[in-house]
């Protein structure tokens, strides 16, 4: 069983963010879930984590449409980070735009693409993918 210590929820809508946090805490049994209002904030935090040697998250749930740094920009920046362990990234968005789904397949770090809502079925799928993921 893969460790589920720390997850990031990167999402600009505070309500969605809170709901997601509660759901994955409860269903994916994460000890700690941190929320970030946009890609920039999550990325800045990861930088300081690297600098001070704190815990790197095991899972990142990433929204696509966000101000400052959107999901794609976050993925580009994230790919360049010298991380000691691999991190599982799931895209969690309300976009059903086919281009977005296609684009996500080009990102190696992305282990899954989920359309909101994060219902029971999606949660179960996420759990399975998280366990199987090589990251």
């Amino acid at each position: 069983m893969k460790k589920a210590n720390l997850a990031y929820v990167v999402e600009d809508d505070p309500i969605t963010s809170t709901i997601t946090k509660l759901l994955i805490k409860k269903n994916l049994h994460f000890k700690e879930v941190q929320t970030y209002a946009n890609g920039q904030r999550a990325f800045d935090h990861l930088l300081s984590v690297l600098e001070y040697g704190c815990d790197v998250p095991d899972l990142i749930l990433l929204d696509l449409n966000m101000p400052l740094m959107d999901g794609w920009e976050f993925l580009d920046a994230f790919a360049r980070l010298p991380l000691a362990k691999s991190v599982c990234v799931f895209i969690l968005t309300s976009s059903i735009r086919p281009e977005d789904i296609d684009k996500a397949t080009f990102y190696q770090q992305v282990s899954g693409y989920f359309s909101k809502p994060l219902d029971k079925r999606n949660v179960a799928l996420m759990q399975q993918l998280f366990q199987e993921a090589t990251c």
Binding site: D13, I15, T16, T18, I19, L22, L23, A37, N38, N65, P67, L68, E73, T93, S94, S95, I96, R97, S115, K116, P117, L118, D119
Partner: protein, 498 residues
Amino acid sequence: MENELSAGVTADLDVLEFIQNQAFDGLYYHSLLGPAYEWVNASFWQSLGYGPHAMPTAAAARCAAMHPADLAAADLLLAECVQNPQQPYDFVARYTHLDGSLVWMRCRGVVRRDAEGTPLQLIVTMLNITPEKQDQKYIQELADHYSLILGSQSVYIVKTDNEGNYTYANDFFYERFGYEQDIIGTSSMLSIIEEDRSKCLDMVMRCFAQPEVSHQVILRKISSDNSIKANHWELKGIVGPQGEVVEILCVGYDVTLLVENLHKLQHLLDVTSQQNVRLQNFAYIISHNIRSHSANLTSLVEMLTEAEDDEQRTMFLQMLQTSTEKLADTIVNLSDIVAVNSNVNKPKAPRVLRAEIDKTLETLSVVIRQHAIKVEVQIPADLVVTVVPAYLDSILLNLLSNAVKYRAPQRPALIQLSAHRESGFVVLTVQDNGLGLDLIKNQAKLFGMYKTFHDNEDARGVGLFITKNHIEAMQGSISVESEVGVGSAFKVWFNEKS
């Protein structure tokens, strides 16, 4: 010598026999004294298609084969010749061939008289000139045929020499382009609008290179009613005896309507595909926004039913309330956007730009004063823009409130407004010294729907999207220059042409 020869000939009956029967296509003697008597030779009847055993012998047979009008003319001429010995007997008579066709005979005759000058006989020799007459007729037909083509009321026919000067132009060309004087010898090139001249020259060069094939080109030209007409031309080199091009033949017709329709169609296609892209985007955005709220609502309701205690229950209820409010807001935003997209043809009216800006600044005066923002307006008081008034209000409010909202906190805020005219547009510039944007990263998203760029709680991400839509609905455009930490300058191009 001549006398000697003719003396010999006159003496020799064989020669007379040859002249009488074979030297001409016809010969006859017509007596002018006593009862009408006529001798017609055999070659005449052969010329009219009669065989040696079927020749008419009646005295009036020749006259019967003659065209009645010519017969009358022949009688008149003979009467004149009888009266006046100086009058030559020479005319062309039409005879009817056995097969019904016309045989043209050039008839030359002489009136024989006795010593007292009394006319005795008319001697007439005939030459069959039917082939020449037929050639002449064919040439005439051909000429009529071509003049019919040249007189066409829908095709221009023009010729130029190697220097491009007119050598021929048909009536229709004169008529359509309102030339009152002869244009022969003037330059054809100068009448073509400047942008098309190089195209024309290029085609003429091709005519020199390949005169045997036609070269096609569309050229524009000012017509008599001062409108520009597009004409399709077919150019061909006319080759002289040495194989060199001596003239250029140009056959053209008006394609103005066709070209106009093509442009209209292209424009329509552009508009439609733009609208299509916009609509598709719109559909995705609607689904995105409504979906995100509905997803929240679904999750919250589920969580509410499974809540562990009152505290959680209260929290979820609170979140439910916020979510429903947000959904309502989204729907209001969407209806704003639909309104812009569906009202393409709202009527435009002239507005004094300065007065409209002052009105908007008044609306914002409280925040402007609160944050001690300096506003400089350098716009002539008489500058008028032609706009959909409601759109102008919305554009000004959006740009100015953005400039206020995204001011840089560390320096005194300054907003500068200016305007100038530029090639059919009035350009309004709204410049601030605020936060600025990284255009390299954000250019593509700046005017998109639901894109926000700063960590700003009340950013809806629809303002610039609607502004852009408003401006485009008025056939204008918007551009931006911006630098992080320096400020932004938005330029609005109001279309004053249409």
